[in-house]
């Protein structure tokens, strides 16, 4: 096929344009192409989690001790120097049993607190350099010390107050439950579920756990608060699920609706899409400023004639 040099060059230029454009976009917004994108209400097929049932928990706290042992964390005995009795999750405590008691003392419930492993985690959306990521297979939110700057935005953004920061020492870490990922790869159970004497907390695939929770509700329709599984859709859905005989709010599990926390950034995402709007704004501003700049330069020269002094920018 006969082709002039000009045609050939045009063809090459046209063909490479999309490539160049794609290159520019991918350098501007690399997160899109590279990282696994969590979404509310969507879980990896192999998503794992916990199911905790307040009606079965006896408050023995063996899961707290087992968690410390499994994760090689020194027990936090700062309260009285004798007992492992931390007030809340902290850098030595990835899992805790709390007790809720009403003012009249008639209603009470234990409550296990650890990372919920959200479908669309706020901490992952907040993290600057993917120091926290959601595992594509298991859905577990994992911390990577090489990428973490220690800004603690994960702590500010987490709707459940889970990630904690090591406040002491020169090499601090972000500490949070990672569902004992070092144990589960070897086929072992997480620390907490391996010791629970009453099977109040169980480990498994999220889909199985959800079925189990629904079966428990179906078997005893008036036993559970609002016949609801907390985490099924709350805050975009979580992999750790809760059944409770008291109001979830009283246990510290807020009503977040089906919207995930990172959904709140949707307008921001639109504004920054492909950096198109900032780029357009920059071009427009440069045009206006260049025009005004000529006027000002002219004025400065006039002033120089008048005063005999060097013009100042």
């Amino acid at each position: 096929m006969a082709m002039t040099r000009r045609e050939a060059l045009e063809k090459i230029a046209k063909g490479s344009l999309p490539v160049i454009a794609a290159g520019c976009v991918s350098t501007a917004m690399p997160a899109k192409a590279m990282a696994f994108e969590p979404e509310p209400g969507k879980f990896p097929e192999e998503a794992v989690g916990l199911l905790y049932d307040t009606t079965r928990c006896v408050g023995c706290k063996s899961c707290v001790a087992a968690c410390s042992k499994a994760n090689d964390l020194a027990p936090d005995t700062s309260r009285d120097g004798l007992h492992q009795a931390p007030g809340d999750l902290n850098w030595q405590t990835k899992n805790i049993i709390k007790l809720y008691k009403s003012a009249d003392g008639k209603e009470y419930s234990y409550f296990k607190k650890q990372c919920m492993q959200c479908a669309d985690p706020a901490c992952v959306a907040a993290c600057m350099f993917h120091g926290l990521t959601k595992n594509e297979k298991t859905g577990v939110v994992e911390w990577n010390g090489i990428k973490c700057v220690g800004c603690r935005y994960c702590e500010v953004s987490c709707p459940f107050g889970v990630p904690t920061f090591q406040w002491v020492g020169f090499n601090p870490k972000i500490v949070k439950c990672e569902l004992c990922r070092h144990r589960t790869v070897k086929g072992q159970q997480p620390g907490c579920t391996s010791v629970c004497p009453n099977k109040a907390v169980i480990y498994g695939k999220r889909s199985d756990l959800l079925k189990e929770a629904k079966a428990r509700i179906a078997a005893a329709p008036n036993k559970y608060f609002e016949n609801k599984v907390y985490g099924e859709t709350d805050a975009g859905g979580t992999q750790c699920l809760y059944l409770s005989h008291v109001d979830f709010q009283k246990l510290g599990l807020r009503e977040y609706g089906e919207e995930s926390i990172p959904d709140r950034l949707r307008y921001q995402k639109m504004l920054y899409k492909y950096l198109a709007l900032p780029a357009a704004l920059y071009i427009a501003m440069t045009a206006v400023i260049s025009k005004n700049f000529k006027h000002v330069e002219h004025e400065l020269k006039e002033e120089e004639k008048h005063s005999g002094l060097r013009p100042q920018l």
């Binding site: 690399p30 350099f129 090489i146 700057v149 800004c151 935005y153 090591q166 977040y256 440069t286 002094l309």
Partner: protein, 423 residues
């Protein structure tokens, strides 16, 4: 109070740099530096800071960065008035605005580096493929570092070049060549200097969108980013007025009531529209009921509204004729604006179970130390460089005064006292 027409930036002359106040600021900064070393070794736990897992952000982020970069937005807000809306009167105060911005941003950036736990990992900021493009904090980190280190720094270069032209005659040809190149690219630099703050000042508000309902509805809304950048704009104007009037009181420099009146007018209009918009957002979202409950949030909301709106109304009726009244009104306005920028992260934020935060003594001293560094930089710059505006007559007086100066530059820098007294 001497009034004139501001025509030209003139250095503050006849006053030594090393005054008693300067030594006090330097010693606070010295203590802060020692505490910083302590903090890097022992971590952020008590007694270094009052931060906990509930309030993971303390004043180093929420005051030194969130509040003070808002206050230091003059370079961007006044710049837009001068260069984009072509307000020629504002050009004379640009150098003052840019210097205050640079000091606020520079010290804020250093403070950010001290606050984070693993600063050695911050190099990822230079590697775009490592970024999480959706994180508001990433947007802040990238744009604040870029803004401070490139356009804002370059915008502050002309007074330095001018210094060399006047003080070091040997360099004059070279410096004039640099200046010529600089003037050519200047529009591109300042366009960037307005784009980046628009992005990161709004993203500072977007940070708290992820706090969700744990931030009171009187602040939380999808418009929080817009309100934040808008507040930064009028806070910037307010801070520039203070940075112009305070030196006039301290060193008996002339004031231009015309320009101050214009700055006032812009600030007041921005504040009134901002307040109206804020109320509109709260009303439309149906959160106004929160303002009439007996809570600290409601009190805080009315405190903000009263100071901001009250000061704006006083300024509106005054329109810059009485300098003392205007000065006090701007103090109140800036305080109100600072409270507004401080509330969402700290005062109106209710994280996990009843957590409270109060900064520790060491945290406060470090915070003040880096503010002192900014003030020291400002004081040094206005005395050595032509920053603050005055008249051409003042420039000529200054030149006559400088002619009497000793030629040895070391004698001029090292002597605590200046070579002669101002007449």
């Amino acid at each position: 109070m001497r009034t004139t027409k501001w025509e030209r930036a003139v250095p503050v002359y006849g006053v030594p740099v090393l005054t008693r106040a300067f030594y006090v600021l330097a010693s606070i900064f010295g203590v802060a530096l020692i505490l910083t070393v302590w903090r890097e070794y022992f971590g952020l736990a008590n007694p270094v800071s009052g931060m906990t897992d509930g309030f993971a952000w303390g004043i180093w982020k929420t005051f030194n960065v969130m509040v003070l970069t808002g206050l230091g937005s003059g370079g961007f807000a006044v710049g837009i008035g001068a260069w984009i809306f072509n307000n020629h009167k504002l050009h004379t105060v640009m150098r003052t605005a840019l210097l205050t911005s640079f000091m606020a941003y520079g010290t804020g950036l250093v403070m950010l580096g001290i606050d984070v736990g693993r600063p050695w990992n911050f190099y990822w900021v230079a590697l775009p493929w490592a970024w999480n493009g959706h994180s508001p904090l990433l947007e802040v980190a990238v744009c604040v570092s870029l803004y401070t280190c490139v356009p804002l720094l370059l915008e502050n270069v002309p007074p330095v070049l001018e210094y060399f032209i006047y003080k070091v005659p040997n360099y004059r040809p070279t410096v004039e060549k640099i200046e010529a190149v600089f003037t050519k690219v200047y529009p591109f630099i300042i366009a960037l200097a307005y784009l980046l703050p628009m992005m990161h000042q709004s993203s500072l508000g977007a940070l708290m969108l992820l706090a969700g309902p744990r931030l009171s509805g009187l602040w939380q809304s999808p418009f929080l980013p817009l309100l934040y950048v808008w507040a930064a704009a009028w806070l910037g104007y307010s801070c520039v007025v203070l940075a112009l009037v305070l030196p006039a009181l301290a060193w008996k420099r002339p004031l231009d009531l015309d320009v101050l009146g214009l700055l006032n007018k812009i600030a007041v209009n921005l504040v009134l529209a901002w307040t109206a918009f804020r109320f509109l957002v709260i009303l439309v979202r149906g959160d106004i009921g929160l303002a009439f409950q007996f809570t600290s949030d409601a009190f805080l909301f009315w405190l903000e509204t009263a100071t901001i709106l009250g000061a704006a109304l006083v300024l509106r009726s005054e329109s810059g004729k009485k300098v003392s009244k205007m000065f006090y009104a701007h103090c109140v306005l800036a305080t109100g604006g600072m409270i507004y920028r401080f509330s969402p992260t700290t005062l109106a934020f209710h994280p996990r179970g009843g957590a409270l935060y109060f900064p520790a003594a060491m945290e406060l001293i470090t915070c003040m130390g880096f503010i002192s560094l900014g003030i020291m930089g400002y004081l040094f710059a206005v005395k050595k460089l032509a920053i603050l505006p005055a008249s051409i007559e003042d420039w000529k007086k200054m030149e006559a005064y400088e002619a009497k100066a000793p030629k040895d530059p070391f004698a001029r820098y090292l002597s605590g006292k200046q070579y002669a007294t101002a007449d």
